[in-house]
């Protein structure tokens, strides 16, 4: 597929799409509907559970809107970004990672990465939507964003670039997925390529939002945009391994040969990315420990202060060292061990984002001035409303994943 870059003509596109929309296509969809209605009890139970979570989360989010975020959320003037921002980042990192991993097969034609492409693209859409939902409940005036992003763009703002590019990214990914369904592989490849480019640029801009705040030493510098891309690939690998395993387990299917090969390849990539992240993290610590006042404080908070447990237990232990060991031990063949490793990683990555966002804010602006108002590091603990919105995002992903497996029949469209 990847070698099929012939110039595109509108007429070929239209006729191609029309051809796929023939009778057999509709018949297929009718059978999907039947499948969906004939799901097992436990399937419906899970869906119900997910729906309940999303329902309560939506209530929580709307309640927060009603009483005002200032009352509902634990963020303050000094720590204006909390768990909702970090959860948003978690979702979009995952999405970007899934897009990158899927593109290895789908855009660049590496055979071993093809079997996961459809599921990965689907999940990348689901996770970016979850991210947007969470951010919708974070931003004070989300509706204004749609208008003024368009008519009053600030091209020096990383948020502007990130928002705009992620918007485009989502559209490209949806087109890619639809084209995959319609078996328009060449179009899917083009859309995938556009999605990949916009996703990567958007993602490094997300890193740059933090990296360009020169009053915030912990974040400032070229480190974050690069780190974000690397950690996205790691997240993407972990996510697709875990979700593929769940999909097969839940439907009681034996993994096919090509899928096993694919898991092995992604598992190896995942292991390598963990190693790279270990280097990133080590050097961040080492350089940070000899930096200026504010940064040293932040690094200390991470290594031996209020964030030490998050850092050592979650980020280092569950996020890097243990999964690295497990993945090596699994020889990338023991699926269960890989699933355990990647499950741990997902939890750890969530905490990683949280720490990244929070630790950058806990050193007060007036720290070096030595005033009495800010004698120590600032603190933040998420509120119930914030937790509700976070859970809602997760519930959305879970439901969409389950429905996706049913509707798209275990994403078998890639078995070509």
């Amino acid at each position: 597929m990847a070698n099929g870059y012939k110039p595109l003509k509108v007429s070929t596109v239209v006729s191609g799409v029309a051809k796929s929309l023939d009778a057999s296509f509709f018949a297929e969809w009718a059978s999907v509907l039947r499948d969906l209605l004939s799901g097992s009890k436990s399937f419906y139970l899970m869906i119900l559970l997910g729906a309940a979570i999303v329902y309560f989360a939506a209530m929580g989010g709307l309640d927060a809107m009603r009483i005002g975020y200032r009352h509902a959320y634990a963020v303050t003037r000094e720590v204006p970004w909390g768990i909702l921002i970090s959860t948003y980042i978690f979702f979009v990192v995952t999405s970007t990672g899934l897009c990158i991993v899927s593109s290895i097969g789908h855009v660049f034609g590496v055979k071993n990465f093809m079997p996961i492409a459809s599921r990965a693209v689907f999940l990348s859409i689901v996770t970016i939507m979850a991210g947007f939902t969470v951010i919708f409940f974070e931003i004070e005036n989300p509706f204004r964003m749609a208008i003024y992003n368009l008519i009053s763009p600030n091209l020096t703002s990383n948020i502007w670039w990130m928002g705009t590019l992620y918007g485009a990214y989502m559209v490209f990914m949806i087109i890619e997925f639809v084209m995959l369904l319609l078996k328009q592989h060449r179009l899917a490849t083009y859309a995938g390529l556009l999605g990949l480019v916009s996703g990567i640029v958007a993602h490094s801009n997300l890193g740059a939002i933090f990296a360009m705040l020169h009053g915030r030493e912990y974040w400032y510098g070229p480190y974050l945009p690069v780190y974000f891309i690397a950690s996205a690939i790691m997240s993407g690998c972990a996510t697709i391994i875990l979700f593929t395993w769940i999909a097969y387990k839940a439907s009681n299917r034996e993994m096919e040969g090509p899928m096993k090969k694919s898991m092995e390849a992604i598992g190896k990539l995942c292991t390598m990315m963990i190693a790279i992240l270990m280097f990133f993290t080590s050097w961040k610590l080492i350089t940070g420990s000899v930096a200026g006042g504010g940064k040293v404080e932040a690094i200390r908070a991470m290594m031996a202060g209020p964030y030490a447990m998050n850092f050592w237990v979650f980020e280092v232990g569950m996020g890097m060292v243990i999964p690295f060991g497990l993945l090596l031990m699994s020889k990338w063949k023991d699926m269960r061990m890989m699933a355990v490793a990647t499950f741990m990683m997902m939890i750890a990555i969530f905490i990683m984002r949280y720490d990244l966002v929070l630790i950058g804010q806990i050193v007060p602006s007036w720290h070096e001035l030595g005033v009495s108002e800010y004698p120590q590091l600032l603190s933040y603990t998420p509120s119930l409303h914030e937790f509700a919105v976070v859970l809602g995002g997760m519930g959305m992903v879970a439901i969409s994943f389950m429905l996706g497996e049913k509707v798209f029949k275990g994403h078998k469209s890639e078995d070509h």
């Binding site: 989300p142 204004r144 600030n154 705040l213 020169h214 804010q361 007060p364 005033v371």
Partner: protein, 250 residues
């Protein structure tokens, strides 16, 4: 000429030759602020600028804004009566849970005699404003005439990146205004109505907050900044925001 100050050489001198650390950092700051006064042409805040840069005629002092609003805080005069804060809140509809300006307290336990100082802080109307750069929708922007960093409230999406970007903790989200609220030197509430000073400046019984046009040689802020007898400094100079609020003592 005897009194000629050669900034270029001064900068290269050792610490010992400059008794006053703060003056030294001020001079350094002067040079830093200089190129930066965003228009790029104001080169020093030292009075004898023409002599200093005699060799570089093209680098004449020129402020990018007219009037170039600025405030000088005479720090040692502050007694923490907080009348400025009250005046500000009253004048600008500041929320009770927020503030546009604040008085910070600094204690130096091992100082001889007086140990407490009060430091007034407010938006520095930075020339290289990090908040303006970061805002996605230009809801916060630098006024082209007077250099005040303003809010176009209706454009604010409430992402709060500007709150993070500001090195001076000068911004907060105001629920009633559905937008970020910040000091704008009382532009809408006073300056645009013909008043010459901000509410805080007028309310201060100790003359701490001197407000005026930094580009006007007759104004008090001009005189306080363009001199070398007393130290003048800015806060968090290292962030490169190029503030327009100066501090002095003595």
């Amino acid at each position: 000429m005897k009194n000629k100050i050669d900034l270029d050489n001064l900068r290269k001198e050792n610490l010992e030759s400059i008794p006053d650390m703060e003056r030294r950092s001020f001079l350094k700051m002067g040079l830093l602020v200089t190129g930066a006064f965003a228009g790029g042409s104001m080169l020093s805040v030292i009075s004898n600028i023409d002599k200093v840069f005699a060799s570089k005629a093209e680098m004449r002092e020129k402020y990018p804004y007219k009037p170039h609003y600025s405030m000088v805080i005479r720090q040692d005069r502050c007694i923490d009566c907080e009348r400025c804060l009250e005046a500000c809140s009253r004048t600008n509809n500041v929320a009770e849970y927020g503030y546009r300006t604040n008085i910070l307290e600094k204690i130096t336990p091992d100082a001889i005699g007086q140990k407490r100082e009060f430091i007034a802080v407010l938006c520095n109307q930075c020339n290289n404003a990090p908040c303006v750069r970061a805002c996605p929708t230009k809801a916060t922007y630098k006024d082209k005439t007077n250099g005040i960093v303003m809010m176009a409230q209706e454009k604010c999406i409430g992402c709060k990146v500007c709150v993070l970007a500001c090195p001076y903790n000068a911004r907060y989200f105001n629920e009633e205004k559905h937008a970020i609220d910040k000091c704008n030197f009382c532009y809408d509430s006073r300056l645009s109505k013909g008043y010459e000073r901000t509410a805080c400046s007028e309310a201060c019984p100790a003359g701490v907050r001197v407000f005026g046009d930094l580009s006007n040689p007759d104004s008090e802020v001009y005189k306080l900044v363009h001199q070398i007898q007393r130290p003048v400094w800015v806060l968090r100079e290292e962030t490169g925001a190029k503030p327009n609020v100066f501090y002095t003592k003595g």
